[in-house]
Symmetry: C3
Subunit: 355 residues, 3 copies
């Protein structure tokens, strides 16, 4: 055990801006423009003439109206106040009765539609390289199914990273679904590989908790026999956490067991800072078994939604406590190593941006 | 087109205090005192012994209770906490068991009941001259009918003036009622006459939009023939905008057409700052045709209420954007000339007050 | 009449911390821990193994989660996030997989369960002496019955003390229940005995107001005969006000009349500051007649609840007014003497604490 202590709330939260963040789900911009604040930037997202996504500052250069209250006409974003039409590059292209050549431009943000999400790069556009986007291999394969949702939570995004990189909280926060005493009792190991932080825990010959019994049945496996269970949390900057989770019938290799002896999936956590103390939290689960079973996808999504809802109050109240005690230090124990190392990677990115 | 740019949000909004503002509708104080903040002053309005209106600071000199929670007894405002009775001049006149001669006075505000409204002068009482009140000729004539309402809006009063002095927004914000493409396509002209700013637009031989078809029928005129349409916006300080609007059967003189060939009215906008970023907005319509038709008055009032509701979200979100980007400049185009000149008149009044 | 004036809102409200305050009702912590802010301290209250009450800072030393979201397991408070178990003294006693010896302690607060309430001492524990708790004699006697409730009010606790130490407000705020003109017309007397401030008023040969007619009938006494009425308000620091109130059939000694000729009780006001501008207000009534009549207790409680609700808006709006006019002075009249002297006692306590 390490009992070092470090202030986590004594300075304002910050986030790297030169990074791809998930901005929204594709269907959020199918009907009309969407205004959303990301990394403290007010941004409007919309689809152009051929359906491509675009992102601009949500501020009409004419009189400051939010462009997200406007409409998309033939692929152009038209301000809902006085009809100014914006180009994809943030330059005004038309306004009734006006010559718009001298109008000041607004920011245009690099944006991508990939892997079932809309991604945005809030920082320097010159550095926006698609290759820097976190790969989501499962998103483009028929072997996988995905279901998820979006929560708006009033907390520093790093508190959510802490939460996901230390799953001992499952024993307490999620006692009736995925929590079990063995999580608490089994030490985890944390290692850092470049910018990636990995915390893993392996439990052998235990009873599966209720959520995993559901998953075993979903893969046509007995749910009343001992299992081996694993949790491998992978943080990558700026703020993504992918968690390999699953159970296999005991003694068959656990994480390495054959596909037909286990139920496994990836918990997907794409965390996007809204402000320094609020986030857009895109959560979901990607699974490799029975990918065509939509009823199973829906059942898992519903179960996961209930479980993740249990974290909301804790995170928001923890945030309120840290704001109320700005000089209080908290502990960094071994179970916190994942979050601690993730914060170090983020600090390194922030230092690079500042340089 | 002029593409000059000027900061409109970079310094706090202010308002002239030496001016008559509409405080409330007469019936708002018939039953009991009304507490309302006007130009950042907390004021209580009530009716005295013979029904005359009075206005005092909403602060009991005894212990600071709001007098608006009290009652009017035989024309005297009695504090609802410990029974202090206030005189119309802001001096305490009685309190059970006390001699009130030495009590500090509170402010008394000049107030008028005229033209169907209660008006208040938040500034120096010595300068409060009834002649300075904006005249509402239509308010005291049987030839006119009036219907209107009150909105509470979270925006700088000058954003509302901008809105009303540039009606190109009708094409976008009010597309289904009074908006039409021809507004946008027809240039407007702005002129300044002393403290008055006038922006006008004349459209010829067009189809009447839905609201004006209703009005034509209300004046027993065909609604399916081409019309000439006009909009003449008149700003007078501190913050009133009266708009001559109407349609006439085409080719008969437009604005100058005979009464029985047109449907015309005055859009009445009496804007009262509550704080620097909120207003009490008294809106209505005065019309000269069929003034005794109460069902028509109600129908027009309902239609106008729906239309004006469409501006609320835009104004409040525009205000929020300007507060979020305090250093961002906005454009002053030709269509903005009415608002720009109105702001100049206001600045002149503010400079006079400061001198 | 004294017309001295003093600023009551020009500096931040403060409260003695070395004092016993009521924290909650006993049943509020029977099922699970209770988080409540008292004197600006975030505190968690819970029952230990044998039902004794304990109070700790509501801040888990591990990561700052509120302990009040946790559970009590075999008398130990267990953090709901990662399972840290707290001892009654604020030291961590156990955490799965951790050695907690070096964990920083959190504050533990002296706490008592007495007289039907849970009491807390937010200040220096070394000075927490049970003897300093205000005695509530009636609370432990079968001759008395008690009923009451809890309000959360947005005002400085001293505004509530003012309210209770000057009952002339009953004439205005509670006109239909306990108010009557004679209160206003009868001078009160205020005296100070050490730290206690006593304001009393005696009215003779008057008609009982509705609430007291109910009480007379509750004691099987005629309610349609003249009565003598008394109000003896007793402030004791830090913030308790007990009021001897009652009516007796006229001419039989009033306050000193035999028990079977009067209906009398103690209005119980235990005021606990939450922040500088909000309070937890524990109100109730202790009565000596017909103590076993539970229906009467319920009827009195309901009536008192309605009456005390009438004060809420006045207190909160008065507070808002004082915050809006921070430099405005208010009057200290003879009727305010109780509150004025109570504030002096509080100032003396605050000076002692600061020394």
């Amino acid at each position: 055990m390490t009992t070092s202590s470090a202030p986590i709330s004594s300075k304002p939260a910050t986030f790297p801006k030169n990074a791809w963040y998930v901005a929204c789900m594709p269907n959020e911009i199918d009907e009309k423009p969407l205004g959303r604040t990301i990394c403290s930037e007010r941004i409007v997202f919309y689809r152009g003439a051929e359906g491509q996504v675009h992102a601009l500052e949500d501020f009409c250069p004419h009189r400051g109206a939010p462009l997200s209250l406007g409409q998309v006409c033939e692929g152009k974003l038209v301000c809902g106040y006085h009809g100014l039409e914006m180009g994809y590059d943030g330059k005004a292209v038309h306004m009734p009765g006006q010559r718009v050549g001298g109008f000041p431009a607004i920011k245009s943000y690099p944006v991508l539609e990939r892997d079932g999400f809309i991604w945005v790069w809030p920082g320097d556009p010159a550095q926006a390289d698609e290759q820097k986007k976190h790969p989501l291999e499962w998103a483009n394969s028929p072997d996988w199914a995905y279901g998820g949702g979006l929560f708006h939570i009033q907390c520093d995004y790093r508190l959510m990273i802490d939460n996901l990189m230390d799953l001992t909280h499952e024993t307490y926060v999620h006692a009736t679904s995925i929590g079990q005493k063995e999580i608490d009792e089994t030490p985890c190991k944390t290692r850092v590989e470049g910018d990636e932080v990995i915390t893993s825990r392996f439990m052998e010959n235990i009873e599966a908790p209720p959520f995993w019994k559901l998953a075993l049945r979903g893969n046509n496996l007995a749910d009343d026999v001992p299992v081996d269970r694993w949790q491998i949390c992978r943080f990558t900057p700026p703020s993504h956490v992918m968690i390999d989770v699953g159970v296999a019938h005991a003694g068959l290799g656990g994480y390495e067991a054959p596909e037909d002896k286990k139920a496994s999936s990836i918990v997907v956590d794409l965390i996007t800072p809204e402000t320094e103390t609020s986030i857009w939290y895109f959560w979901g689960m990607a699974r490799k078994f029975n990918p065509k079973d939509k009823a199973l996808t829906a059942a898992i999504r519903e179960g996961q939604g209930k479980i993740f809802t249990e974290d909301l109050q804790m995170l928001e109240r923890q945030q309120a406590n840290l704001l109320a005690y700005p000089n209080r230090k908290v502990l960094n124990l071994n179970i916190d190593a994942g979050g601690v190392h993730a914060r170090k990677v983020i600090e390194r990115w922030l230092a690079q941006e500042a340089a």
